[in-house]
Each structure stands twice: as C-alpha cells, then as structure tokens.
Amino acid sequence: MLSTNLRNNILVVRVEEKRIDASKAPTFKDEMAKCIEAGQNQLVLDLSQVDFIDSSGLGALVSCLKRLGPRGSLAVAGATGAVSRLFTLTRMDRVFALHANVDSAVEQLSA
C-alpha cells in the first residue's frame, strides 16, 4: 500500500490507498516498519491520496514515530479535509510536522 522515493536522503513514502482504517492499519505499520528497519530515519509521509484515517490508522502512525525513536523524524505532507482535521482534533498536529506538500516537507527537512 506504500510506494517510496528517496529525495535528498529523505525517504518519501506515499500511501497508495484512500483509507488508513482498522482493516489497513496493520499492513501500513508492517510496511512502514520495513522502511525504518532498512535504515531510514528521516521520512516524509505523503497522505495526498488519503481521504480518511481512523484512530487505528492514527495509532499506526504514532507507532511508526516510536519505532523511529527520538533521533528520527516523520513529517506528514498533503493532509487535507478529514485527515488534516483528525490531526488537529487529536492534537497530533503537535507531534507530526504537517506540510502542504512533499516538496515543502523535503525542503524543510533538508534545510
């Protein structure tokens, strides 16, 4: 459900599903874990294709952050509508740096 692309030594991970819900969260977590275990610790998660995330999906994102540990970073790009609202509502916008798009996320992380 993910496609990846390395830019300026930052791994851009695009979610190729419209929903990250309880049925998809375990696969999402596993595929993200593989990216992290491959040695990447600066990630941008591109959510531009995603129009719905539930608390299981959000929990999976948090578990990726914990897996990355304090030295890693996980930025979120392209969250709109219900997805961006969920981040605000749960105050997870304080946890994940939200960027309008992948370009600006990569730019900030490489600065």
Partner: protein
C-alpha cells in the same frame, strides 16, 4: 421530513468502509462536509469497537446500522449482539485523552482513542444494552456549531 434506513454488514473490518461511505452519502444533503467527516469517523470508530472488542474480531456476526434523517438532526444507531460494553465505559471516557505531552514519545497514545473521538464529534451519545441487543445511539444536530 423523517426518513430512515437500516444497513448491515458482517463483522469484518474490511467491510466497515462500505458502510461508512453509504452513511456519508445519506448525510450529504443535510450536513456540512466537516459534519459528514464527524459522522463518518464516529460511525467507523463505533463499528470497529463492536468488531474488535464486542466480537473479538470474529467474522460472521452481525452489525446493524440504523440511520434516521430528521429535519434538525441525523440519528445513527449501531446495533450488535455481542456481550455488552460495561455500563460505565462510555461515561468514563477520559477528558484528557489528547492532553498528552508531545515531547515525551511514550506519552503519545497509540490506541484507546475511539470513544473519545466519538464523544468529541457527536452531539449526543448513549449506550443501551438489553437481553437481546446493544444499541449505541449517536446524534448529530444539523447546523449546530461544532
């Protein structure tokens, strides 16, 4: 105008999105996009809870959703036949679920957010269990400031 419809799925997490999209479409003319988001999220959280905690992930059990479209509110009821949720759970949803310390990784929640989200997104939430069924009733008022 009052109209209502009943929908049902098998207790399979893969099928929840079908129901969510159907209910969202039903609310399209009545609710703002933000309120449609609120209803869709609450519905998904409620059904996930039924499947994961009520039926312990077992498939082949029934989950029914009754949607009532009224002049001033949308009423969503989720009906299941699982062992009931303990009565106090809904009343004791912690107010501070999202008051975590974002500088402390360990303090950021990975789960236990569903009921808190339902409480935040709906105007009324009630849970009733009888001999025959459990019923979670959620109301979204039309045009109410969120």
């Amino acid at each position: 105008m009052v109209s209502s419809i009943s929908l049902s799925i098998d207790s399979d997490l893969d099928k929840v999105s079908l129901l969510a999209r159907a209910v969202r479409a039903l609310c399209e003319d009545l609710l703002s996009p933000e309120d449609q988001d609120a209803v869709e999220l609450s519905l998904v959280e409620a059904i996930n809870n039924v499947i994961k905690h009520g039926y312990h992930g077992e498939r082949g059990k029934d989950v029914q959703v009754a949607v009532g479209l009224q002049a001033d509110q949308v009423v969503i009821e989720i009906i299941d036949h699982a062992p009931p949720m303990p009565a106090q759970v809904l009343d004791n949803v912690p107010e501070d679920t999202f008051a975590f310390d974002e500088t402390d990784l360990a303090d950021i929640p990975e789960g236990g957010m569903g009921l808190a989200l339902i409480r935040m997104n709906m105007d009324e939430v009630e849970y009733h269990s009888s001999e025959s069924e459990n019923r979670l009733r959620m109301v979204k008022r039309i045009g109410a400031p969120s």
